[in-house]
Symmetry: C2
Subunit: 147 residues, 2 copies
DNA sequence: ATTTCTAACTTACCTTGCTAAGTTCATAGC
DNA sequence: GCTATGAACTTAGCAAGGTAAGTTAGAAAT
């Protein structure tokens, strides 16, 4: 897929991620990826498997991320009896504060970028979602499972 | 930027990359990232710095990738006298064959996905490029420097 | 009650991204 | 000729992605 578009999409998201990292770390020592994991919990992911699906990543990666965030005191991990081997994920108050602060820092930044680029937000979003649905067809994972 | 769109873009490119990996490794033991590095050379990158710019990634990452590809015999690295510390990158015949084969495997796959999703390719590409130009404003790197 | 199955999670190991701090080669100034 | 500067690349070390294979807790089957 060295089609120009596919390559350009890759570069675009790589740059967006780095930009988000820079914005966050100017104020809080947290990476965008870690913020996203915490954010997923506020979006309804309550187990590691659900969080992995929301983040669209593998379970081992999510397991490690949960370990890191929990060791940093941003996340509480517990087991609820009678629920198999499942872990219950909850933000600590510190974790919730971090999510709030980060959300504020990033709030509107992307919309502003899209506006300055002269791209109609709704249209680009619709196109992106169509592609997501198309490529995700056949796989049951993804954010729609939770949201 | 936990804006829905920014998150969705991230998920989309992650899935595209994995899909490309699956397609390639079904036939050739090479990752999409390695293919992309080789492909960059066919697109005009002749030094590691240029390749890093084309791949929109850091020079150390590119340095390591070049080392790997050269150790695998896909890439020839040489110095040309009087050119500073610069390395000249060239595909070996095996490397060129790999690029050809991979290009064929991926050919049209992305366009097909876009078509099936009902998204107008040209429009989505134009939008993506506008966003790229906007976020890249101020940075001189990127494919346009070479292509 | 013990065995078996399944879901959820972990461990081990590798790839590949990044930054910060070195190294190397050629040129420019003295 | 010798030193300073700058460009290109490397080394070291960490972050975070992936797969394959292992573990654990409950449910199901006999």
């Amino acid at each position: 897929m060295p089609t120009a578009l596919s390559y350009e999409l890759h570069v675009l998201t790589a740059r967006l991620d780095r930009a988000a990292d820079v914005i966050l770390q100017a104020e809080i020592p947290i990476s965008y990826r870690r913020f996203l994991a915490l954010f997923g919990i506020t979006q309804g992911a309550t187990s590691q498997r659900e969080l992995a699906a929301w983040l669209a990543q593998s379970e081992p990666s999510t397991s490690r991320m949960v370990g890191v965030l929990s060791r940093e005191g941003l996340l509480a991990v517990s087991r609820s009896p009678g629920a198999g081997n499942r872990r219950v994920l909850q933000l600590t108050s510190e974790g919730a504060a971090v999510v709030d602060r980060c959300s504020t820092l990033l709030e509107g930044r992307f919309e502003e970028l899209v506006r300055r680029a002269g791209v109609p937000y709704a249209r680009f979003q619709r196109d992106t979602r169509r592609l997501l649905n198309q490529i995700g067809a056949g796989e049951s994972s993804g954010p729609e499972r939770i949201a």
